[in-house]
Structure formats: structure tokens, C-alpha cells
């Protein structure tokens, strides 16, 4: 742990990433207490104060119906991080199991599973998500579902490639010789060797999941109003560029910061855990 922190601290970029992520998570969790206008995440309108540029009262200005943009960004972080967590709680385990089975068992299991993965990977992720959202109602749950469905194959592919090379290692052969079950070998012997790679990828992916989810809501397919969402805030504001720039720039910066933070942290983690590119 101390070693980990030292490596992190030795790499200033990773440290910045770590600090950003901690700050954003803190801001999201404590949004109701930090936000200057905690009611502005709901059905509130204040047309006397709409479309105001940044000021002392509204640090990032107000939107077209008079809601405080800073407060809404804090709440939007809740949505984005929550969505990222749910996706990363489902996709990696599913992908890992598929990848382990295919990589260790080989034969027809490998053929069937990996071809299925190939099919999923051959469809551009955003297109798949848009197609799914087109069929389903645009809600937060369905956005999570759509992103999860397009995310697990990447983990299957990653774990599969590690499991395949580990399969030939001495310790696996040793376990086989003493009669360990396939289940034991796959999950107790090989899986621990895949974990660093999986963890690193998860950290890096957090940023990408947030971008994809924002892209979906930018297209009007994600969270529905009045719930704040970074992607839809950018989309709404884009009509009023360049005059009301604060409508777009601040939510856009918010996306940039969170993605940047997770990417830097992921890079640091890769070094700490000794994962190769």
C-alpha cells in the first residue's frame, strides 16, 4: 500500500489523476451539501434568472430555465459515476468468466465463445448502443444496459489472451498434475494472474464509459429531463453557441476532467501493478 502510494506520488501525472478522481467522487457523493442550489436537479424553473453568465451567485452561470449550472454538474457527476460503477460491476465479471472459460478450456468452447465475442466487437460500440436505445425506452437503466452489453466483450478478449498464455505455464501444469479441478485452475490459479490487467482496464474504462454514456445523452437517448446529465447539458447548450458559452463549456470541461482523471489514474495503476501494455 505504501509502495503503491510512493509509485503514485513519484509520477506527478498519476497523482493529479488520483486527486481529480478523489475530488470528483467527493463532490458527487456530497452534492446535496456542496451544491449552492441543491433543488436545481429537479423540476425547478426560475425564468427571472435564466441564461446568466458566470457570477458570484452562480459560479458557472445559469441555464435557459434559470437553474445553477454548477449545482447541476455536481448532480450530473452522481449520475455519470453511478452509471460507470454499475456498468463496471457487471461487464468485467461477465467478460472475465467468458474469457477464462475460452482461454483455459480451449476446443469448441473457445471457438463458440470467442466467435460470439468477435461478433459483438465487430459492431461499433456507439452504433450498438444507439440501436438498443432505439428499441428500448430512453431511461437511465436502459442506458446502463446498452453500455454494459457493448462493454463485456472487451474483458472477455483481454482475459482470454492472458489465460491462453498462462495455460502453458509451469504452475498450471503442476496443478493439473496434482489433480486440481478445471474450476480450481481457472479461478484460483489463472484468474489471480489476470486481476492486475483487469483492474487497470477497469480504471481506464471508467472514463470511456462516462464518455459513451454522455454521447448517448448528447443524442437524446440517455437520462431524460429534468435529471441533469453532462451529455445532455452539452447538447442543449450547443444551440446557443457562441453567445451563451457557459451552457456548453462547463459541462464539457466536467466531462474532460473526469475522463482525464480516470485515465491518468489508470496509467499510474498500470505501473504499480506492473501490467504490460
Amino acid at each position: 500500500m505504501i509502495r503503491a502510494f510512493r509509485i503514485l506520488a513519484a509520477n506527478p501525472l498519476s497523482l493529479i489523476g488520483f486527486i481529480l478522481v478523489v475530488l470528483i467522487v467527493f463532490a458527487a457523493v456530497f452534492a446535496p451539501w456542496i451544491a449552492p442550489y441543491p433543488t436545481h436537479n429537479g423540476a425547478v424553473v426560475d425564468f427571472l434568472n435564466n441564461n446568466r453568465p458566470p457570477s458570484a451567485q452562480n459560479w458557472m452561470g445559469t441555464d435557459l430555465v434559470g437553474r445553477d449550472i454548477f449545482s447541476r454538474i455536481l448532480y450530473a457527476y452522481q449520475i455519470s459515476l453511478g452509471l460507470g460503477l454499475v456498468v463496471l460491476a457487471i461487464a468485467p465479471p461477465v467478460g472475465t468468466i467468458v474469457g477464462l472459460l475460452a482461454g483455459y478450456m480451449g476446443g469448441w468452447v473457445e471457438t463458440i465463445l470467442m466467435r460470439l465475442v468477435d461478433v459483438f466487437l465487430s459492431i461499433p460500440p456507439l452504433v450498438l448502443a444507439i440501436a438498443m436505445m432505439g428499441v428500448l425506452e430512453p431511461t437511465l437503466t436502459n442506458a446502463m444496459l446498452a453500455v454494459t452489453v457493448m462493454w463485456w466483450p472487451w474483458y472477455a478478449r483481454l482475459v482470454y489472451s492472458i489465460a491462453r498464455s498462462e495455460r502453458e505455464e509451469g504452475y498450471v501444469l503442476a496443478a493439473e498434475v496434482i489433480g486440481a479441478s478445471s474450476f480450481h485452475i481457472a479461478f484460483r490459479e489463472i484468474l489471480p494472474n489476470c486481476l492486475p490487467a483487469i483492474l487497470t482496464k477497469m480504471t481506464l474504462d471508467m472514463g470511456f464509459v462516462i464518455i459513451i454514456a454522455s454521447s448517448l445523452s448528447f443524442l437524446g437517448l440517455g437520462v431524460q429531463p429534468p435529471t441533469p446529465d453532462l451529455g445532455s447539458m452539452v447538447a442543449e447548450g450547443a444551440r446557443y453557441l457562441p453567445d451563451s458559452w457557459w451552457l456548453t463549456v462547463f459541462p464539457g470541461l466536467a466531462i474532460l476532467l473526469v475522463v482525464f482523471g480516470f485515465n491518468l489514474l489508470g496509467d499510474g495503476l498500470r505501473e504499480i501493478l506492473g501490467v504490460d501494455e
Binding site: 430555465v65 453567445d243 451563451s244
Partner: protein, 521 residues
């Protein structure tokens, strides 16, 4: 020798390109789709195309009530028969002469296709008395018949029939891509999703102002931010009326002029009267009283003197037959709303209203949020849904797919209240974009029919006044505000019909007659 040849070639090249430099181009935009077939024209983009590519027998008088002869020179009314004498020497863009047969063909084509505004001509029989005389016989009295003729574009029957086939007897394929009118502008190219290019018709039967644009490019579906930037850079001339007020404001501050068109329409928040809980009149009255009319008006202000609307006084815009005086402006009344809600059969917590807004009209998103907040004060929950125009017009075709609440700008397509209200509220015309209420009320039907048949203006006034009262009582709609359409324009163009009240037409879209515009550069 070589040198002379070269010089000659250069001269020839200059001669060829010179007229292109002199061409003045007008660029404007509207929401997709641009429907070119005049028998299917219904929305604003379609009307702009129709009024320029085609002509009608009469046109509204500029700056006042009534109608002037246009393709006709005069008309006589004898009971239910209207006889029109056509103007001599008018030719279509194809070169074919205009005859009474073209008029008969045009109305029959509209009736046969049954789309767009064909309902205006339901019970009309047309007959060519001779080459230059045409008569219309109505099977029921229809007071605003002459007014409705501004929606009867005359097509070139010879040209259309040449291009019709056995499976396409009315030449729909041909007319959806080509013009076949007498209009002041001819279609150079047409892509209904992207752009229509039109050119001045030198053979037009009236004198066209020298300064009128030589070429017009009408583009569809431009983003507000794009239009804003293009106008500021001098690369666009007239915006659509759907730009949000902030963007209009920014353009006006940057020196753009604001053009206006008013008096014939309103902003209507339509309630689906077939879908619970809005099938209950008390539930409807609860939300129509909860709507914050005053804030909606504030939202429309663009500059100190120009606004996108004025307070509504009822179902009929101020100034039309049957309208209430401006002093009767509707206002929010939360006590009344609560009282009606108590009578409503559904508990506020069980409402779950779907509030839709048209994706191309950003202002409606704000109005949706305003309604959501207004209704939340009564404890009514609602969800907001964005619908692109094309999807919306599909959804309203069945009552189940029609959202609880739809936001629509509607205009009297002929300038007469009949064409504003009949299409919205008569039980015979449900499920169009104008009628997502699916209203079926015998009293409303009777008043609408009376307004059509009344012989005198007083009788019409009385019929529409009764209609207005009834529509307030059963509240199928939140009568949001009386609409004034505003367009931002560059200083390269001057449009008297949209800036000088004495030149205004009193008919939506007619102000976009390009032949009356002047390019100043």
C-alpha cells in the same frame, strides 16, 4: 493569330461567367421536410415553396382584409356557385398556357390525393365553363370559400399528365421533385431533406422587381448555432422562426434585422382527450389553470419592441372572429386548479403525464420544463419527451401513441378562423399534427359548422364566439399565447411584407414571396 485566339477564348470565358457574378442569391432555412407537391403542402416550409412556385386564383390584399384577383381577373357569386374569369396570357414555366382545365385538374388532384389542406375543398365541384372561365359549386355553404382559394395552387395539367403513369395517375413522383406552376420562381433542384434551389422566372405574368433575388437557396434542418454563425458572417439571409429567443437577441444585437408576421395563429398545448387522466374535463381544467401564462410571455421577449407572442385570451387569437378582447388575458389560477383537481377522478400522484416537445423548436423544451414545474406544484408528476417533427407527425396518427401533451404552433392557413379551428377541433379531422386532442364534442362541431355556413360577418362572429366559450369550458388545449413569428435577417435583404404592416399579407408564409423582396447588395 494564336494570341487573338487566346484573347477570344478569354473574352468568351468572361462572357460566360459574367452573368454568374451579377446573380443575387437569397439564402434562408426552414425545418425539414420540404414538401414540393402543392397538393400535399401543409407546414411552413411547404407553404414557402408553394407560394413561390405556384400561383392561386386570388391573393390576400396587402395591408388589409379581403382578397385581390391574381390568376383570376374577377369573380361572381351566385348562391353556392362561384364563377372566376382567368387572366389572359398567363403561361406556366413549361410554356403551356393557363386554361380553366388546369384549375379543374388542380382541385380534382387535391381532392383525389386527400392530403395536405385538401379538406378545404371537400364538397366543391369544379367545371370549366370555357377556356378562360371556371365555376365552383359548393354542396354546402362555406363562407370563407374565396379565402380558401389561397390554398389552391394551380398546376400545369398538361405537364403533369405527361409525367403520370398507370400506377401514379396524379404524377405524385413528378411533382414531389419538380415544379409545374406559373410561379415567379422555378425549381432548379430539390432535395426534401437538404435544400431547394429556385431561380427567378423571367416569363412571370407580373412584373418582378429588378432587385428581387435571382436565385433562392432554401435549406432544411440547419442547427440554430449554424444559422447564428452564418448570418453573423454574412453567409445566410433569413433565419427560420424556430430560432430560440436568445439567438434572435444575439443576432439583433449584432445588427441583424427582425422580421415579423402576426395575427393568424397561436401556440397551443394540446391535451390528448382520449388518454386517462386527461379524458376527464376536471383533470384538464386543473392543468390549464396551473399553467403559468405570464412566465411564458416573458420567455418570448426578444428585444424591447419585438416579442414572439402576446397574451392569449382564449381559443381564438385576438383580432379574429369570435376572439375575446386583449383585456381578457388568461392568467394562472392555482386556487381554481386545486379546486378542479379535487373534482378530477385521478389522484395527482397517479397522473404521470408525458409532455412532448418538438426537437426542432428549442423554445418548447423550456415550455415543457415550465409545465413540469407548474404541474409539480399540484403534486402532478410528468416526464418530458423529445420528438423530432417527422416522428411526431407519425405518432399522432393513433390516439394511443399520441403523448398526453403536445406543443404546437398553429396558424389559420387561409387567414380565416375556420382553417385555424376546424382542423384542430372538428371530430371529423382527428389525428393530424393539428389535432392531437382527438376532440369529439357535438357542441364544438355544431359551432364550427355554423361558422362555415353563416352568411354574414355578424353571424360568423356569434358562432365563433360560442365556439370560443365552449372550448374554454371543456379545455382540450392550454391556449398558451397568440403567436407572432419572428425571423432574423441580414441587412442584404429587404422584405416589406414582413416589416411594414401596410404591406403585410395576413396569411402565414405569404410574406416569403421572393418576388417582393429586394436584395440590397
Amino acid at each position: 493569330m494564336k494570341r487573338t485566339l487566346l484573347a477570344a477564348a478569354l473574352l468568351a470565358a468572361t462572357a460566360l461567367t459574367a452573368p454568374a457574378y451579377a446573380q443575387s442569391v437569397l439564402r434562408l432555412d426552414e425545418v425539414a421536410v420540404g414538401e414540393l407537391d402543392p397538393a400535399k403542402a401543409s407546414d411552413y416550409a411547404d407553404s414557402i415553396l408553394m407560394f413561390n412556385v405556384y400561383d392561386t386564383l386570388v391573393i390576400p390584399t396587402q395591408g388589409g382584409p379581403g382578397h385581390d384577383p391574381h390568376l383570376a381577373t374577377s369573380w361572381e357569386v351566385d348562391g353556392a356557385t362561384y364563377t372566376f374569369t382567368l387572366r389572359d396570357g398567363v403561361t406556366f414555366q413549361s410554356g403551356n398556357p393557363l386554361t380553366a382545365a388546369d384549375v379543374v385538374y388542380s382541385i380534382e388532384r387535391m381532392q383525389a390525393l386527400g392530403q395536405g389542406l385538401s379538406y378545404l375543398f371537400g364538397g366543391v365541384t369544379a367545371e370549366a365553363v370555357d377556356d378562360m372561365t371556371v365555376s365552383f359549386t359548393l354542396d354546402a355553404p362555406y363562407a370563407p370559400f374565396v379565402a380558401s382559394l389561397v390554398r389552391l395552387p394551380i398546376v400545369d395539367s398538361v405537364l403533369v399528365q405527361e409525367n403520370a403513369t398507370a400506377d401514379d395517375e396524379w404524377g405524385e413522383t413528378f411533382l414531389s421533385a419538380n415544379g409545374a406552376g406559373t410561379g415567379a420562381y422555378s425549381v432548379t433542384s430539390h432535395n426534401p431533406q437538404e435544400e431547394t434551389v429556385m431561380a427567378k422566372n423571367d416569363g412571370y405574368f407580373l412584373e418582378i422587381n429588378e432587385a428581387a433575388p435571382d436565385q433562392v437557396r432554401l435549406r432544411y434542418g440547419l442547427e440554430a448555432a449554424t444559422v447564428r454563425t452564418l448570418i453573423a458572417q454574412g453567409e445566410h439571409d433569413i433565419s427560420s422562426q424556430w430560432l430560440p429567443p436568445e439567438v434572435m437577441q444575439a443576432l439583433a444585437n449584432g445588427g441583424a434585422q427582425l422580421l415579423t408576421e402576426s395575427g393568424t395563429g397561436g401556440f397551443y398545448v394540446k391535451l390528448n382527450t382520449t388518454k386517462p387522466p386527461l379524458d376527464d374535463v376536471n383533470c384538464r381544467l386543473a392543468i390549464t389553470n396551473a399553467f403559468d401564462y405570464g412566465t411564458a410571455i416573458q420567455m418570448l421577449a426578444i428585444t424591447d419592441d419585438v416579442s414572439g407572442g402576446s397574451p392569449s385570451t382564449g381559443a381564438i387569437p385576438v383580432g379574429m372572429f369570435g376572439s375575446n378582447p386583449p383585456s381578457d388575458a388568461l392568467a394562472r389560477d392555482m386556487d381554481a386548479a386545486r379546486a378542479y383537481l379535487a373534482e378530477c377522478g385521478t389522484a395527482p400522484g397517479d397522473f404521470n403525464l408525458e409532455i412532448s416537445w418538438i426537437a426542432e423548436v428549442p423554445l418548447e423544451e423550456r415550455l415543457a420544463l415550465l409545465m413540469q414545474a407548474n404541474f409539480a406544484e399540484l403534486g402532478i408528476s410528468s416526464s418530458i419527451e423529445t420528438l423530432p417533427w417527422a416522428l411526431f407527425t407519425e405518432r399522432v396518427a393513433s390516439p394511443e401513441n399520441t403523448p398526453h401533451i403536445s406543443q404546437i404552433f398553429v396558424n389559420a392557413v387561409t387567414g380565416d378562423p375556420d382553417t385555424l379551428l376546424y382542423g384542430m377541433y372538428h371530430s371529423s379531422t382527428p389525428g393530424t399534427w393539428q389535432s392531437p386532442e382527438y376532440l369529439n364534442d357535438p357542441e364544438v362541431d355544431a359551432a364550427l359548422d355554423a361558422g362555415r355556413q353563416a352568411a354574414t360577418d355578424e353571424a360568423r362572429e356569434a358562432a365563433y364566439s360560442a365556439l370560443n366559450d365552449r372550448l374554454m369550458e371543456i379545455a382540450p388545449t392550454i391556449y398558451g399565447f397568440d403567436r407572432q413569428s419572428v425571423f432574423a435577417a441580414s441587412d442584404r435583404v429587404s422584405v416589406p411584407a414582413l416589416s411594414d404592416p401596410a404591406m403585410a399579407f395576413g396569411l402565414d408564409g405569404m410574406g416569403f414571396s421572393f418576388r417582393l423582396m429586394e436584395m440590397t447588395e
